[in-house]
Assembly symmetry: C2
Homo-oligomer: 92 residues x 2
């Protein structure tokens, strides 16, 4: 999977990311991977569901994976942060 079809969810408004996902599908990708960490996980779920409900009814959630990442929070300090990816794909 090329980095092209990954959308990282940050702190911008939800609709910015929805637009990014829709754009990637419209530019020919058959799969888009929505990734988020920590509190942005909620927004990732919103983005996936809004994309499907309002914009691309032919797209489905193919897979959702969760895992823990270690994140640096300072000099020699690390914390665990939950991470998620939502794989969306065009329905056959």
């Amino acid at each position: 999977m090329s980095p092209d079809n990954v959308v990282f969810i940050g702190k911008k408004p939800t609709m910015n990311y929805v637009l990014a996902v829709v754009t990637q599908f419209n530019s020919g990708n058959s799969t888009v991977n929505i990734k988020a960490r920590g509190k942005a996980i909620v927004r990732a779920v919103d983005v996936a569901l809004i994309t499907q409900r309002r914009f691309l009814q032919n797209v489905v959630v193919e897979d959702i994976n969760i895992w823990t990442e270690e994140m640096s929070v300072g000099e020699d300090e690390w914390t665990n942060v939950s991470s998620m990816e939502i794989v969306m794909t065009i329905k056959e």
Copy 2:
């Protein structure tokens, strides 16, 4: 699936829900369903990953589902809220 093995995630500390999940597995359930809506979704992911990493290494995330629910926010007012369930099960 009986309601017994569903853990609804709310606003309490994360470890309260981890304890609830661990208790359900320890009382004989082979599957526990973690459910959350809106901002609690992040906590649901934390609960699943902490349960697995710190307490029950023989438990895996079997399935994750997301969907949209309509929620009443006042007299004749409704809003959409993202919902999630994480199905955890004992590894064979």
